[in-house]
Symmetry: C2
C-alpha cells in the first residue's frame, strides 16, 4: 500500500490517496484519535468515482465520528481503465432501467463478474488497512449491496454491514444472502425508479441475520435524506465501538 498524496480537510479529517497494486483508494482518518480505530469500508457501484461528493461527505462524517474509512475504485470505476464495451453495457443498462425494461440478464452478465472481481480486491485492501497502526478494527461495510453480501459471506472480519437499495442483485448474491448472519441495516428508497421495491424487501427477508433493520424513505434513488448518514453511523456505533 503506497500513499500517493494527503490532504488535511477543514473538519480535521486527513484524506490520503493510496494505490495497492492496480487498486486505487482513499483512506479518511482523524489523526487525533489516540487508540487504533474501527474501520468502515465504503463500496460504490454504477461506474462512480470514489471522489463522488455524496460518498466523500459520508466518509468524512464517519471519519469525524471516530472511524477510519476507506473506499476503493472497483474495476471500471473512478480512476480505473474502462473498456468501450463496458461503457456501452453501462449505457444499455441505464437506458433499460430508465425505460422499465427487464435488465436481469444484462445485470447478471455484467454485474455478476464485476462482483467476483471486486470482492478479492476488498479482501487484499482489508489486509493492508489492518496492518496500519492507526487502524484496529472491528470492520464494517457500507454501500454497494451485491459486493457487501459476498464480502460478508466470505470474510469473517466484517462485523456489521449497511447496504443500500438492493432491488437488483445478481442471483449468486441473492442466494448468498441467507449465509449473511452479521447485524445488518438495509437502506432503500421507496420510489427508487431503478430498484424494484418488492425485490429489495424480499432480499431483506432473505438475510440470515438475527439483527436486521430496514430503513425506507420516500423519494428516488439519489434522494436519501442526510439523516440516514447519521443513522448509519449510529448503527455502526452499536456494533463496532
Amino acid at each position: 500500500m503506497h500513499f500517493t498524496s494527503e490532504q488535511r480537510l477543514d473538519d480535521g479529517v486527513l484524506a490520503r490517496e493510496f494505490t495497492l497494486g492496480e487498486i486505487p483508494g482513499t483512506l479518511w482518518t482523524t489523526p487525533e484519535s489516540a487508540a487504533p480505530t474501527p474501520l468502515i469500508l465504503i463500496g460504490h457501484n454504477g461506474g462512480l468515482h470514489r471522489r463522488e461528493p455524496r460518498l466523500v461527505a459520508r466518509a468524512r462524517h464517519s471519519a469525524a465520528n471516530g472511524y477510519a474509512v476507506a473506499a476503493i475504485d472497483a474495476p471500471g470505476h473512478g480512476d480505473r481503465p474502462r473498456s468501450a464495451a463496458d461503457e456501452q453495457t453501462r449505457a444499455d443498462l441505464r437506458r433499460a432501467m430508465r425505460a422499465g425494461e427487464p435488465v436481469d440478464e444484462l445485470f447478471e452478465s455484467f454485474i455478476g463478474p464485476l462482483v467476483e472481481k471486486t470482492v478479492p480486491e476488498w479482501r487484499t485492501t482489508l489486509d493492508a488497512l489492518l496492518s496500519l497502526p492507526e487502524i484496529g478494527g472491528p470492520v464494517g461495510y457500507s454501500g454497494w449491496t451485491a459486493v457487501g453480501i459476498r464480502l460478508a459471506a466470505v470474510e469473517p472480519r466484517i462485523a456489521a454491514a449497511g447496504f443500500f437499495a438492493g432491488g437488483y442483485v445478481p442471483r449468486a448474491q441473492r442466494e448468498e444472502a441467507r449465509q449473511v448472519t452479521i447485524p445488518l441495516l438495509l437502506l432503500l428508497q421507496w420510489d427508487d425508479e431503478g430498484n424494484p421495491r418488492q425485490r429489495a424487501l424480499d432480499l431483506f427477508d432473505a438475510f440470515g441475520s438475527k439483527q436486521k433493520t430496514l430503513h425506507a424513505n420516500t423519494g428516488g434513488h439519489a434522494g436519501t435524506p442526510w439523516f440516514e448518514v447519521e443513522d448509519g453511523n449510529r448503527f455502526f456505533d452499536r456494533h463496532l465501538k
Copy 2:
C-alpha cells in the same frame, strides 16, 4: 384538568397524574426546562394501561430529551371501566390473532368505534395541555396507529407522527391515511405475529406525506429494540424542535 398526584422520578422527570372529566392521564415533564416545551402525545391500544412499563420508559426518555409527554387511557383501557362484553371481545380478538384466523370483522366492529370515541378525547386533552404555561408546542403523536391516523387527519395542531405496527387498522383509517400529509415515521416488527406485514407496507405506501420513513426490525410484536426509542426522539427533534 385536575392534577391528582405528582412524583419526581430519579431521572429528574416529573410525572403528574391528571383527570379531565372521565379521562385519566399522565403528564411527564422536566421542570428545569426554561422555555415552553414541545409536546408528544403517546397513544396505546390493546387494553393496556398508560402505566405499562415500556410506555413509561418511552415517555420518560422523551421527557428527559426536552419534551412534555402525555398519555391518556382510552375507553376500556387502564383506569377506565371495562364491560364484560368488551373484555370478551378482546379475548376473542387475541385468540383469533394468535390462531392466524381472519379478524377483520371483529376488528372493524370493536376497534372502529373505539377510535371514534378516543380521538375527540385526545383533542380535548390537547386543548387542556396547550393551556399549561410549561407546554408550548409544536405537537407530535406517537404510538397507536389507527387513532394517530384519524388525529393527524382532523387535528391541524399535530405536526409529526410516529406510528407503530399498522397491520390491522380499521377501513375508515386505511382510507384516511391518504389525507395524512405531516412527516411520518412508521415503525414495524418484521415478524409481528398479529400484524400482517404486507398490510403495514401497503399502509406506509398509502400515506399522503411527502416525508415518510419506514423502520422495520426482526422479531415479534413486543420485540422492538430500544434504539428505536432513540430514533423516534431524533425524528421528533427534526420536526418539533
